[in-house]
C-alpha cells in the first residue's frame, strides 16, 4: 500500500466525452455505458509502477457541463497531470479544446503535464476528428497525445501511465519541486527523498511511448 509518490490528476473536457468512463476503466477495469452526470468532481485512485517505483495516482474527475465550469476551475489547483479529453465522433468537443487548455494553464501549475486524449476510438465509423488533427493540436501546444477507448480499454492504461511517466521524468530532471504540494506531487510516507539527481542517461523520453503503441 505504500508509495513513493502521489500524483494528483485532473480529467477535463466537454460533457459526454467519456471522462468518467475513462476513470472507471482505469480504476475498476470495467465499462459502464450509461453514467450519471458528474456533479462537481468525483474521485478515483490507483497505484501504478513507474521505473520500479510505486506511484499512487489520485484522480479528480471533473464535471464537463458548461454550467459547472466555474466550479470545476476551483479543483484544478495542485494537479500534476491533466487528461484533456475530447470525443473523436463529435467535432465540437475538439473545437473547445483551446478554451479548456486555457483554463487548465491558468488555474494550475505551469509544469503540469497535459495528455490530450481522443476518446471513443472504437467508434471508427463515426469518426469526426482525424487522428492527425489531434496529433497536430498536441504538437502545437506541447501536449502528449493518445487516442483511447474507454469501452474496449484500448490505451486507457497507457494514457494514465504515460502521463505519470512524464511527470516522473520531470521530477528526475528537477523540474518539479516535489516538496511543494502546489505542484500536485506528494512524497509517500516513509520516503525521505533527497533532492532528485539530474536526468541520467538511462531515461527515455516517454513521449516516444505514447501515441504509436497499442491497438488504436
Amino acid at each position: 500500500m505504500t508509495y513513493a509518490y502521489l500524483f494528483k490528476y485532473i480529467i477535463i473536457g466537454d460533457t459526454g466525452v467519456g471522462k468518467s468512463c475513462l476513470l472507471l476503466q482505469f480504476t475498476d477495469k470495467r465499462f459502464q455505458p450509461v453514467h450519471d452526470l458528474t456533479i462537481g468532481v468525483e474521485f478515483g485512485a490507483r497505484m501504478v509502477n513507474i521505473d520500479g517505483k510505486q506511484i499512487k495516482l489520485q484522480i479528480w474527475d471533473t464535471a464537463g457541463q458548461e454550467s459547472f465550469r466555474s466550479i470545476t476551475r476551483s479543483y484544478y489547483r495542485g494537479a500534476a497531470g491533466a487528461l484533456l479529453v475530447y470525443d473523436i465522433t463529435r467535432r465540437e468537443t475538439f473545437n473547445h479544446l483551446t478554451s479548456w487548455l486555457e483554463d487548465a494553464r491558468q488555474h494550475s501549475s505551469s509544469n503540469m503535464v497535459i495528455m490530450l486524449i481522443g476518446n471513443k476510438s472504437d467508434l471508427e465509423s463515426r469518426r469526426d476528428v482525424k487522428r492527425e488533427e489531434g496529433e497536430a493540436f498536441a504538437r502545437e501546444h506541447g501536449l502528449i497525445f493518445m487516442e483511447t477507448s474507454a469501452k474496449t480499454a484500448c490505451n486507457v492504461e497507457e494514457a494514465f501511465i504515460n502521463t505519470a511517466k512524464e511527470i516522473y521524468r520531470k521530477i528526475q530532471q528537477g523540474l518539479f519541486d516535489v516538496h511543494n504540494e502546489a505542484n500536485g506531487i506528494k512524497i509517500g510516507p516513509q520516503q525521505s527523498i533527497s533532492t532528485p539527481v539530474g536526468s541520467s542517461t538511462s531515461q527515455r523520453n516517454s513521449r516516444d511511448i505514447g501515441s504509436n503503441s497499442g491497438c488504436c
Binding site: M1, T2, F43, S67, I71, Y75, S99, E181, P189
Partner: protein, 505 residues
C-alpha cells in the same frame, strides 16, 4: 494481541515528555523517527485508540508566527489565516458534546468499561505526577504565559470547554459533565493527543484535510514500517476514511469554501455605506444559522427505528433543493445496522460450547465475529459514514454554487444543513453505541484489558467522526454566503461576483 500491552500503561508517565513536546519542537519528521520513537512508542501498539488527528505542531507558537512559511513543513500555508479557521475550536468543543450524547444516554456498563480502560488514576497520583511534570518543564514554561503552558493549563482549558459546551450539548445535562470529567482524565492519560488538541485551540493553522491527511500518512507509515498483520490495517480509521474518498471530498470542499470566501471578501470590499451594512447584517444572520448550539436545544428522543434516519436525512435533503441524494450514506448506514443485527444473533448460538475455553484462548478465537471483528467493522463503518457525509456536504456545496435559480434562501438552506449535521452526529453516536454494546455482549468473557481499549476506540473514533462532520459543515458557510449574495443581487452587481459568464470560453 497488541492491545494488551499498550492501553493500560499509563497514564501520567507520558505527561512529562509530552508537555515538553509542546514547548520544544518534537521530532516529527520521518527521518528522525528514532528520536521520537521513545515517547511515542507507548501509544504505538494501540493504533485503534488513535485520537483525533491533530494539526502538526509547527514548531512552537512563537516561531510559527514569525516564520509562517517553513520549508520543512512542506504544506500549503492556509492563506486564509485565523479568522477562517475560527470554527475549528468551536467544533472541537461541540465534538465533546457529541461524544457526551453518545455516552450520556445510557449503557452504564459501557461507560464503566470505558472508564476503566482510561486508566483513571487516583487524585493523589495525579497531583504528584503533575508536580513532577511541572518541575521538569518548569524552565521552559516560565517564558510561556499561554494557558497551555503547564499541566494545569490542560485542566483550565478543558473546564472552559465544559462551560462553552454546556450551551450546545446535544442531549446534555449532568451526564455531559460526567463524561467531560472522564474526558479530562482521558486527556491526561493519553497526554499527547489531548494536549495537542488543546494546543490546537490556540494554534489553528492547518486545514482539516491536512490534519486528516497527516494522520493518514502517519498510519500509512506505521503500517508500512511495522510488521503488522493484514487485519490491523482494517482498524486504521484514517486509511479507511481515505479509501472511501473522504479525504478527497474534504479537500475539494475546502477548495470551494476557500474560493467562496475570497469572493465574499472581495464583494464586501467593493461595497460601502448602507448597502454594506445591510449585507453584513444578512451575513450575520446566516452565520447564526451555522451555530449548532441553537438547534441542539430541541431535544428529540432517541431514534430506534431503522427507517427514521434514512427518512429524516432524505427529507432534509429535499429541503435543500439540491439534486443530490443521500442514498450512499443511507446505504452505508444500513449496511452497518444489518451487520450488527446478524452479529448480535450469532453469539447466542455459539456461547454454549466455548465458555470454558474462552478464558484461555480469547485472543486466538477464530470466532466469526470476534470482538476484533466487531471493532474493525465499527471503525470501518464510522469511517465510511463520515466519508459519505463529507461527500454529501461537498456535493451540496457544488450544487449550491452551481444553482442559478434558488427556490430556497441561503438561510433556509443553512438551517437545514445545520439540522442535518446534528442528525448525522447523532446517528454516528447511536451507531457507536450499538457497536459498543455489541462488543460488551460479545466480549463478556474477555479480559478487561482486551475489551476496553476496543470500546474506547470506537467511542473515540465516533467522536472524531462527529468533529470532522461539524468541521466540514462549517466549510459550507462561505459557500452559502456567496449564494446569499448572488441570490440577493440579481443583475446589478453580477460582474462583481467573480463568476465568469459561461459563454466566455
Amino acid at each position: 494481541m497488541s492491545y494488551k500491552d499498550g492501553i493500560e500503561t499509563p497514564v501520567i508517565t507520558e505527561a512529562a515528555p509530552i508537555l515538553e513536546d509542546g514547548n520544544c519542537e518534537p521530532a516529527k519528521n520521518s527521518d528522525s523517527v528514532d528520536q521520537s520513537a521513545k515517547p511515542e512508542s507507548k501509544s504505538e501498539p494501540i493504533p485503534s485508540t488513535r485520537k483525533r488527528p491533530e494539526a502538526k505542531p509547527s514548531s512552537d507558537l512563537e516561531t510559527s508566527e514569525v516564520l509562517p512559511v517553513e520549508e520543512t513543513v512542506s504544506k500549503d500555508v492556509p492563506q486564509t489565516g485565523w479568522g477562517y479557521w475560527g470554527s475549528w475550536g468551536k467544533s472541537l468543543l461541540s465534538s465533546a458534546s457529541a461524544t457526551v450524547a453518545t455516552v450520556g444516554q445510557g449503557i452504564s456498563n459501557v461507560i464503566e468499561k470505558a472508564e476503566t480502560s482510561l486508566g483513571i488514576p487516583s487524585p493523589s497520583e495525579i497531583s504528584t505526577e503533575v508536580k513532577c511534570a511541572a518541575g521538569e518543564t518548569n524552565a521552559k514554561e516560565s517564558e510561556n504565559s499561554s494557558p497551555i503552558a503547564g499541566p494545569f493549563g490542560v485542566f483550565s482549558t478543558i473546564s472552559t470547554a465544559v462551560q462553552s459546551t454546556g450551551k450546545s450539548v446535544i442531549t446534555g445535562g449532568l451526564d455531559a459533565l460526567e463524561f467531560i470529567g472522564k474526558k479530562t482524565m482521558d486527556v491526561i492519560a493519553e497526554g499527547d493527543p489531548g494536549f495537542k488538541r488543546t494546543k490546537d485551540l490556540m494554534n489553528r493553522n492547518a486545514t482539516l484535510s491536512q490534519v486528516l491527511r497527516e494522520a493518514k500518512e502517519k498510519e500509512e507509515l506505521w503500517t508500512s514500517s511495522e510488521i503488522t498483520m493484514e487485519t490491523d490495517k482494517k482498524t486504521h480509521y484514517g486509511l479507511l476514511f481515505d479509501e472511501f474518498q473522504g479525504l478527497s471530498h474534504l479537500e475539494a470542499l475546502e477548495m470551494l469554501s476557500r474560493e467562496s470566501e475570497i469572493k465574499v471578501k472581495s464583494i464586501l470590499n467593493s461595497l460601502s455605506g448602507e448597502e454594506l451594512e445591510t449585507l453584513k447584517l444578512e451575513l450575520e444572520e446566516l452565520k447564526e444559522a451555522f451555530s449548532l448550539g441553537e438547534l441542539c436545544e430541541e431535544e428529540e428522543e432517541e431514534k430506534e427505528g431503522d427507517e427514521d434516519f434514512t427518512k429524516e436525512i432524505t427529507e432534509l435533503f429535499s429541503q435543500l433543493h439540491v439534486s443530490s441524494k443521500p442514498e450512499k450514506l443511507a446505504r452505508a448506514r444500513n449496511t452497518a445496522y444489518e451487520w450488527i443485527r446478524t452479529s448480535l444473533t450469532k453469539p447466542l448460538a455459539e456461547k454454549g460450547g466455548g465458555e470454558e475455553q474462552l478464558e484461555a484462548e480469547n485472543t486466538e478465537q477464530a470466532n466469526k465475529n470476534s470482538i476484533e471483528d466487531i471493532h474493525a467493522f465499527a471503525i470501518r463503518s464510522l469511517a465510511e459514514m463520515t466519508a459519505c457525509s463529507i461527500e454529501l456536504f461537498h456535493k451540496t456545496a457544488a450544487l449550491v454554487l452551481h444553482g442559478r435559480k434558488q427556490e430556497v434562501t441561503a438561510i433556509e438552506r443553512s438551517r437545514t444543513l445545520s439540522q442535518m449535521t446534528v442528525v448525522l452526529c447523532k446517528e454516528l453516536s447511536s451507531l457507536s453505541k450499538k457497536f459498543t454494546s455489541c462488543l460488551t455482549t460479545e466480549g463478556v468473557k474477555e479480559k478487561a484489558d482486551v475489551l476496553n481499549p476496543l470500546i474506547t476506540a470506537v467511542f473515540l473514533e465516533a467522536s472524531n467522526s462527529a468533529s470532522y462532520i461539524q468541521d466540514a459543515f462549517q466549510l459550507l458557510l462561505p459557500v452559502l454566503e456567496i449564494s446569499l449574495i448572488e441570490n440577493k443581487t440579481e443583475s446589478p452587481r453580477h460582474e462583481l461576483q467573480g463568476e465568469k459568464p459561461l459563454s466566455e470560453h
